[in-house]
C-alpha cells in the first residue's frame, strides 16, 4: 500500500511540475474565453462594419419612390439613371461603389430570377442576405400595394411562435428547463468524453514510456505490476482532477472579471427574436430549475468511473506496443470506438432520451459514462441509474482484472509484435 502511494505521488508530481502542465492549464481556459469572447463580440456587432455603397440600376422601378433599407442592412443604395449596365460595370469601382444591384425591366413581383448583384469578389452570406431582405421588402410592398393591404394589416396576419416548455414533475412547474437541460447535458457528456480520451491516452503514453525506456523491469522487481499500473492510473487521474479544478476556478474568475455571460448564451443567441438580456434571464432561470444535486453527483461518478474504466484499457494497450509508435494505432482504434460510439448515442439522447438504443447505451459500461450524462435530465428511472452505476463498477473491476494480466506480461516483452490473439490468451490465462 505504501508503494502504491509512492507511485501515485511520483506520477502526479512529475506531470504537475512539467512546464507543459502549467501552459495547458492556464492557456486552455484563456483560449476558450478568448474564443467565446470573439463569438460574443461578433454577435453583438452584428456586421455593423459592413457599410457598403451599392449602385442600383433599377430598370423595373422596384425602388420607386425610394429605397427602404431592411432592418440590419446598413448599406447605402444609390439609384443610378441614364447609364447602361455594361458601362456601369466598367466604372462603378472608380466611382466608389462596392457592388452593382441590377433589377431587369420585368415585373419583379412575378419574376425575380434575373435580379443580379455584381461584385469584384464573392459576397459573404451575411451581406448577401441583407441585400436580399431589402429587395424582399420592396417586392412585398409592391405586392401589398396591388392587393390593397397595408403593412400594418400584413404584420397582424404574420405569425412567429416560440413555445415555452414548462416541466411538470408533481411538485412545481419548472420553466425553461428543456432548452437549458439540453445544453448542460451536452456539456457534461462532452467533458466526460474528452476526459476519457485525453487522460486515457496520457496513461497509455506513460506506460509506453516505462516500457520503451526499459525501466519497467527494474520497477516490477520492486513493486507488483498491478501496483505500478494502478499507481499510474490514479496519479494521472489526480492530475486530471487538479487540472479541471483549476480550469473551473479560472473560468469562473475570468467570467466574473470580464462580465461575460455563459458560453451557451453566446452560442444560442438569436438577436432577431430574443434580446441578449432576456435570453440570459431564461438561461439563469432554467439553470436554477435543474436538479443540480443529481447532476453533480452523477457527473463526478461517471467522470471517475469512465476514466478508471478506460485508463486500464489504455494501460494494457500501452504495455503491448513496442518502440514503434505507429503500432499503437491498430490497438488504440478498437478502444476509441466505444467512446466515439457513446458520444454518437449521447447526441441521439438529446433528441430521444428514452429510445431503446439510448437506454442500452446508458447501461452498457463502455458507453454509459457519456450516454447517461446525456439523458440524466430527462427523469431517468432510479432503477436504471442504479443499474447503470452498478454495471459500471462491475465493468471497472472486470476490465482492471483483465488488463492487469495483459499489462503484467506485455510490459516485459521486448522487440516482439504482440497480436490480439496473444493478448486475449494472456488476459484469460490462470495465474
Amino acid at each position: 500500500m505504501k508503494k502504491i502511494l509512492l507511485v501515485i505521488q511520483r506520477e502526479y508530481l512529475v506531470r504537475v511540475r512539467k512546464k507543459s502542465f502549467l501552459y495547458t492549464t492556464i492557456l486552455i481556459p484563456l483560449v476558450i474565453m478568448g474564443f467565446y469572447a470573439a463569438i460574443f463580440a461578433i454577435g453583438i456587432s452584428g456586421g455593423s462594419h459592413e457599410k457598403n455603397k451599392i449602385a442600383v440600376l433599377d430598370e423595373a422601378g422596384l425602388f420607386t419612390p425610394a429605397i427602404e433599407n431592411a432592418k440590419g442592412d446598413e448599406s447605402t443604395y444609390v439609384i443610378i439613371t441614364g447609364q447602361s449596365l455594361e458601362s456601369l460595370k466598367g466604372t462603378y469601382k472608380s466611382k466608389g461603389y462596392d457592388y452593382i444591384l441590377y433589377i431587369p425591366p420585368v415585373d419583379v413581383t412575378k419574376d425575380t430570377k434575373h435580379i443580379q448583384l455584381f461584385s469584384s469578389s464573392p459576397l459573404n452570406v451575411n451581406q448577401k442576405s441583407k441585400v436580399e431582405r431589402t429587395i424582399d421588402n420592396a417586392i412585398e410592398n409592391k405586392r401589398l400595394q396591388s392587393a390593397n393591404i397595408s403593412r400594418e394589416q400584413y404584420r397582424s396576419i404574420q405569425s412567429d411562435v416560440s413555445i415555452e416548455n414548462p416541466v411538470l414533475n408533481g411538485k412545481e412547474e419548472k420553466k425553461n428547463v428543456a432548452f437549458v437541460a439540453q445544453g448542460v447535458s451536452f456539456i457534461c457528456g462532452l467533458l466526460i468524453y474528452i476526459v476519457m480520451l485525453i487522460y486515457g491516452t496520457m496513461v497509455m503514453r506513460g506506460v509506453m514510456e516505462e516500457k520503451i525506456s526499459r525501466i519497467a523491469e527494474v520497477m516490477v522487481s520492486s513493486v507488483k505490476p498491478f501496483q505500478l499500473m494502478m499507481g499510474k492510473i490514479i496519479g494521472i487521474g489526480a492530475v486530471g482532477l487538479t487540472q479541471f479544478t483549476i480550469w473551473i476556478a479560472l473560468i469562473a474568475t475570468l467570467r466574473y472579471a470580464l462580465h461575460i455571460p455563459g458560453l451557451d448564451t453566446a452560442m444560442m443567441q438569436q438577436p432577431d427574436k430574443v434580446q441578449g438580456g432576456a435570453l440570459t434571464a431564461i438561461i439563469s432561470g432554467g439553470l436554477g430549475n435543474l436538479p443540480w444535486g443529481l447532476i453533480i453527483s452523477c457527473f463526478i461518478f461517471y467522470f471517475l468511473g469512465g476514466y478508471l474504466l478506460y485508463a486500464s484499457l489504455f494501460a494494457a494497450i500501452g504495455s503491448v506496443v513496442s518502440e514503434d509508435q505507429s503500432e499503437a494505432q491498430q490497438f488504440v482504434f478498437p478502444v476509441m470506438m466505444p467512446i466515439i460510439l457513446g458520444f454518437v448515442i449521447m447526441t441521439k439522447a438529446m433528441a430521444d432520451p428514452n429510445s431503446p438504443l439510448v437506454v442500452f447505451g446508458s447501461l452498457f459500461p463502455l458507453t454509459s459514462p457519456v450516454v447517461m450524462m446525456g439523458r440524466i435530465m430527462y427523469n431517468v428511472p432510479v432503477t436504471q441509474i442504479i443499474a447503470s452505476m452498478l454495471l459500471l463498477v462491475l465493468g471497472i473491476l472486470f476490465f482492471t482484472w483483465l488488463t492487469a494480466k495483459i499489462y503484467r506480461t506485455g510490459i516485459l516483452m521486448y522487440g516482439k509484435k504482440v497480436t490480439w490473439k496473444e493478448m486475449i490468451r494472456w488476459a484469460f490465462r490462470k495465474s
Binding site: 509512492l6 507511485v7 520497477m219 522487481s221 520492486s222 516485459l412 495465474s431
Partner: protein, 309 residues
C-alpha cells in the same frame, strides 16, 4: 546457511521450456557467474529469482525461508540487461524514489543516495535529468540505484556494457567490496574473461538446463586436456615422446601429453635428452574454450518446440 537455494525450478512457455529443472545454491559473499548462450533461459531464471515471474514448479529458498517477493524484494538489487531509468526525471529524485520503493524511508534513502553520489563523484548530477547523461554515466547511476538498499542478493546482468576501463574498475571494486561485506552476487554476462576475473563459482545453462556447475578453478580442472607449455634451451627433434607437440616457437613448446602418461614423463624425456628446462607449466582451458566446447553443436538460435507439460 545458503543465501539462496534454487530447487528444480521450471518455467514452461507455450513454445519453449525456458527453464527446465534447474537447481543451484549460492553462499553468502560469493560471486556467482550465470552463463549461457542467448536464449538459454538466463533472463527467465533471473526473473523468477527477483519475483517478477512465478515458477511453474520448484522452490526458491531465500535466507532459509521460502521466497516471498513482497517481503524479500527489499533485500534484492536487480540490474537488468535492458537498463532503463525515467528519462525526464531528475537524477537525485529518481534515485530516492527507487530506494523508497525498496522500502527505505525518505531520510534513509536520501542519506544513502548522497553517500553513493559522493563516492562515485556524481554530486553535480543531482538536478540533471537522465536524458542529459551519456550511456556510461547512466550505467553508473543504474548500478548505484541497484545497491542503494544494501541488498543481500545482487543480480547484475551485463553490468559493464558501455563502460570505459576506469568506470569498469570502479564498479568491479564495488562488487568485490559488497561481496566482502557478505552480499551474494549473481553476475550474468557473455564476457568470459570478466567471469574468470571476478567469479568464484559458475553455472552454465543451455536450452533451459544446467549443464555445468562448479568453482571456476574446479571447472577448469575438470576440462583440462593435459596441455603444457615448456621452455627449453634448445628444441631437439622429438621422436617416440610421451606427448604430441601442438605448437612450437623459439621460446616455448606447447604439448599435449598422450593417454597413459603424466607430466613427470615429459620432464624425464627432456632430462634424458640433456636439454636445459627453463619453465614448465600446465595450460588450463579458458572459460571461453569450455563455453564454446559445451555449447558447440547447438544451433545458434534456439529453435521453438512444442511443449507438452
Amino acid at each position: 546457511m545458503n543465501r539462496l537455494d534454487v530447487k528444480h525450478l521450471k518455467k514452461y512457455y507455450t513454445s519453449q521450456k525456458a527453464v527446465d529443472d534447474i537447481s543451484f545454491s549460492l553462499a553468502p559473499g560469493s560471486i556467482f557467474g550465470l552463463l549461457g548462450p542467448n536464449g538459454a533461459g538466463k533472463t527467465t531464471l533471473i526473473r523468477m529469482i527477483t519475483g517478477i515471474l512465478f515458477p511453474d514448479e520448484g522452490d526458491i529458498i531465500f535466507d532459509g525461508q521460502s521466497f516471498n517477493p513482497d517481503r524479500d524484494n527489499a533485500f534484492i538489487g536487480y540490474m537488468p540487461e535492458e537498463k532503463g531509468l525515467y528519462k525526464k526525471m531528475k537524477i537525485g529524485d529518481q534515485a530516492i524514489y527507487l530506494a523508497q520503493l525498496k522500502g527505505l524511508s525518505k531520510a534513509t534513502a536520501m542519506e544513502r543516495v548522497k553517500h553513493w553520489f559522493i563516492k562515485f563523484e556524481m554530486q553535480s548530477w543531482w538536478n540533471k535529468k537522465v536524458e542529459d547523461l551519456s550511456k556510461g554515466m547512466q550505467q553508473k547511476l543504474q548500478f548505484v540505484t541497484t545497491v542503494l538498499n544494501d541488498p543481500k542478493l545482487i543480480i547484475l546482468d551485463e553490468p559493464f556494457s558501455g563502460l570505459d576501463p576506469v568506470n569498469s574498475n570502479l564498479i568491479k571494486e564495488e562488487i568485490y567490496a559488497l561481496a566482502q561485506k557478505g552480499a551474494s552476487i549473481i553476475f550474468s554476462t557473455h564476457r568470459m574473461e570478466q567471469v574468470e576475473e571476478i567469479c568464484d563459482h559458475i553455472i552454465l545453462v543451455n536450452k533451459g538446463q544446467k549443464i555445468l556447475d562448479g568453482t571456476v578453478s574446479g571447472v577448469k580442472q575438470q576440462f583440462k586436456e593435459n596441455i603444457f607449455s615448456i621452455g627449453l634451451d634448445a628444441y631437439p627433434p622429438v621422436t617416440d615422446a610421451p606427448f604430441d607437440i601442438i605448437n612450437q616457437n623459439n621460446h616455448q613448446q606447447i604439448l599435449k601429453i598422450k593417454e597413459g602418461f603424466r607430466s613427470n614423463d615429459v620432464l624425464q624425456y627432456y632430462l634424458q635428452k640433456q636439454v636445459g628446462i627453463n619453465s614448465f607449466q600446465e595450460i588450463l582451458p579458458s572459460l571461453n574454450d569450455i563455453f564454446i566446447k559445451l555449447v558447440h553443436g547447438t544451433p545458434l538460435a534456439r529453435q521453438f518446440e512444442t511443449v507438452t507439460a
